[in-house]
């Protein structure tokens, strides 16, 4: 198993690069079959890597055989393995869904498959990288692929949204790059392992500025309130498979980097005030995003604002992990990772269900969802189940995440965040029920429903059930996250 796990590290990056390029060579609109086979193999690799990491601890991989700081190192520890699992587990059903979706609505399929392949490759490369400049290149790869996917169907709305997203993400990666420049200038290396021991509490001002720049860049890319402005039009206006990938996975990549840097190289510099500020921004996101979601008239925009709100929970990590007792910090890390996984699965389920509903009814208005409960019960059920996870009801993974976070808040004496967690759950319930209530209304006129392939209704259900299953069988994942 030892060698397979090490090989898995390389092939999780090389395999999607290969099938994405092959999809490009095959030509416009082609590549779905390659994508499904590739993603299935990648899922097996991710599982084998996770097993290897639990058995042997963090695995290092020296690209080119040189070793840091001369060469680039890849590192698979608990955190990266969990993110890799999330990516492959969500991407495979989404690929099947996308294939069915584009067979019904081909607008935008022309170069979809190569773009998705490079996106997945870039995310895998980002999660595995242990070199700050290499992370910059993977960040740009993720950003450009995501922007390309937002604009894939054309039209004024998506193109405007794509441009706004592109300029914001470029500002973010530019700030990150300056941070890398300052780190290299101070220490002479960009390898995270070598930098770790070198950065101490009395680090020069340039290092603190580098940390601030990198944090700012990642906040822009994760769309944390008040930097969330680009997200709703981009995620709400894209075709459903694209929205699902963006909300479920791409957002997590930049968040992962904040966690990685906060807990490793910048740990001696982490500040109580900054941590509390991040928590407050998170609370603002939950409040503002949920209120905005309640006011939306279009289904996909409601789900997009839900992402803005849910991102806020993730930033509860920082006040709960900075300067707190170890038990609290551990619970906080486990809770936030569980929240990231739960949200990834549930949001993908929600967007795919919403996509199926919009495709079938051929309109997007929430107020005209009436009759859906009798015509599309499976998609509506999936939407509701995903809502259960987002609300944090037992036995879902969302409940487990909130439980762990409340535990951390109690152990560190920060009771205010508990109020935020509970209030957030109530607000989430409000906008989820808004949709469900409309769908259960009976309508007199016979609305026209377009028949859909079964796949478009099964994928949301499988994803939603997965988010529930994760809550029940979370012990292996929790074990994995502890490997550092």
């Amino acid at each position: 198993m030892h060698d397979l796990s090490l090989h898995a590290i390389a092939w999780l990056i090389l395999l999607p690069l290969a099938w994405a390029s092959a999809a490009f060579l095959l030509g416009p609109g082609r590549g779905a079959g390659l994508a499904v086979i590739g993603l299935a193999l990648q899922l097996l690799l991710a599982i084998s890597l996770a097993v290897g990491v639990v058995d042997q601890g963090p695995l290092a991989y020296q690209v080119g055989g040189w070793g840091a700081p001369l060469g680039i190192d890849l590192l698979a520890d608990g955190l990266s393995s969990v993110m890799l699992l999330l990516t492959q587990v969500v991407a495979l059903p989404l690929a099947l869904y996308a294939h069915a979706y584009f067979s019904q609505n081909p607008k935008g399929v022309t170069w979809f498959w190569p773009l998705v392949g490079y996106l997945v490759a870039a995310m895998n490369a980002l999660f595995l990288s242990a070199d700050a400049f290499n992370i910059y290149v993977t960040l740009e790869l993720v950003g450009l692929a995501a922007v390309g996917l937002v604009a894939v169907a054309g039209g004024v709305g998506p193109v405007t949204a794509a441009l706004r997203y592109l300029l914001t993400t470029l500002l973010g990666s530019g700030a990150y790059l300056l941070g890398v420049a300052l780190l290299y200038g101070t220490y002479g290396t960009v390898s995270l392992e070598v930098l770790g021991p070198l950065i101490a509490e009395q680090a020069p001002l340039a290092v603190a500025m580098a940390g601030a720049l990198m944090l700012f860049g990642m906040l822009l890319k994760t769309a944390l309130f008040p930097f969330h402005f680009w997200l709703p039009p981009a995620h709400g206006g894209a075709p459903a498979p694209v929205s699902a990938i963006l909300s479920a996975l791409v957002i997590k990549a930049s968040f992962y980097l904040v966690v990685r840097f906060w807990l490793s190289i910048f740990e001696p510099l982490t500040d109580y005030a900054v941590a509390q500020l991040l928590g407050l921004f998170g609370a603002g996101a939950v409040l503002w995003g949920s209120l905005q979601a309640l006011q939306q008239t279009r289904l996909k925009m409601l789900v997009a604002y839900s992402t803005v709100a849910q991102v806020g929970y993730l930033f509860l990590l920082f006040p709960l992990v900075t300067g707190t007792p170890e038990a609290a910090a551990n619970s906080a890390v486990q809770g936030v990772i569980m929240q990231a996984l739960a949200h990834g699965l549930a949001k993908a389920a929600m967007f795919t269900a919403a996509g199926a509903m919009v495709l079938s009814m051929e309109r997007d208005d929430i107020s005209r969802l009436g009759g859906l409960s009798s015509h599309m019960p499976q998609s509506l059920f999936a939407f509701g189940l995903a809502g259960v996870t987002l609300m944090g009801l037992p036995p879902s993974a969302g409940f487990l995440a909130k439980w762990l976070l409340i535990d951390a808040a109690i152990h560190s004496g920060q009771w205010g965040w508990i109020v935020m967690l509970i209030a957030g759950g109530l607000l989430t319930a409000a906008y989820v029920f808004k949709v469900l209530r409309q769908a259960f209304l009976q309508v007199e006129q016979d609305a026209h429903y377009r028949p859909l392939p079964r796949m478009l209704e099964w994928v949301p259900l499988v994803l939603a059930l997965a988010s529930l299953a994760l809550g029940v069988r979370a012990s292996e994942i929790i074990l994995l996250t502890g490997v550092r």
């Binding site: 450009l144 441009l163 700030a175 420049a181 290299y184 200038g185």
Partner: protein, 105 residues
């Protein structure tokens, strides 16, 4: 201050100022071409800091030079995508300005 003012250090300081100017331009300007230009100024600033700081002791350092070569290609790719999207927007709306940021209305 423990360092002498080598040419590389001057490049690094200039790069820092260019970065700040680029960021201001990217945020404040509304015309898309100006935003893209500001992004390029910002990127060039970051590259100058990277190479300048790496070589501030006077000895040539190939690693930041290679990193900047990579960075330039990445910046070119991003600029190309931004220009293509701007051109697309121009064809669709006849306008080279992003609509005023008011998505929460």
């Amino acid at each position: 201050m423990t360092l002498t003012l080598t040419p590389s250090l001057v490049y690094a300081l200039t790069g820092a100022l260019l970065f700040a100017i680029g960021v201001a331009g990217l945020i404040v300007r509304t015309h898309l071409l100006r935003k893209i230009l500001a992004f390029n100024v910002m990127g060039s600033g970051a590259f100058m800091v990277l190479v300048g700081l790496g070589q501030r002791a006077g000895i040539s350092d190939p690693v930041p030079q290679a990193m900047v070569l990579t960075g330039i290609v990445v910046a070119v790719a991003a600029t190309a995508l931004a220009l293509a999207l701007s051109r697309h927007l121009l064809l669709l709306t006849g306008n080279m300005h992003l609509p005023e940021n008011d998505p929460d209305a």
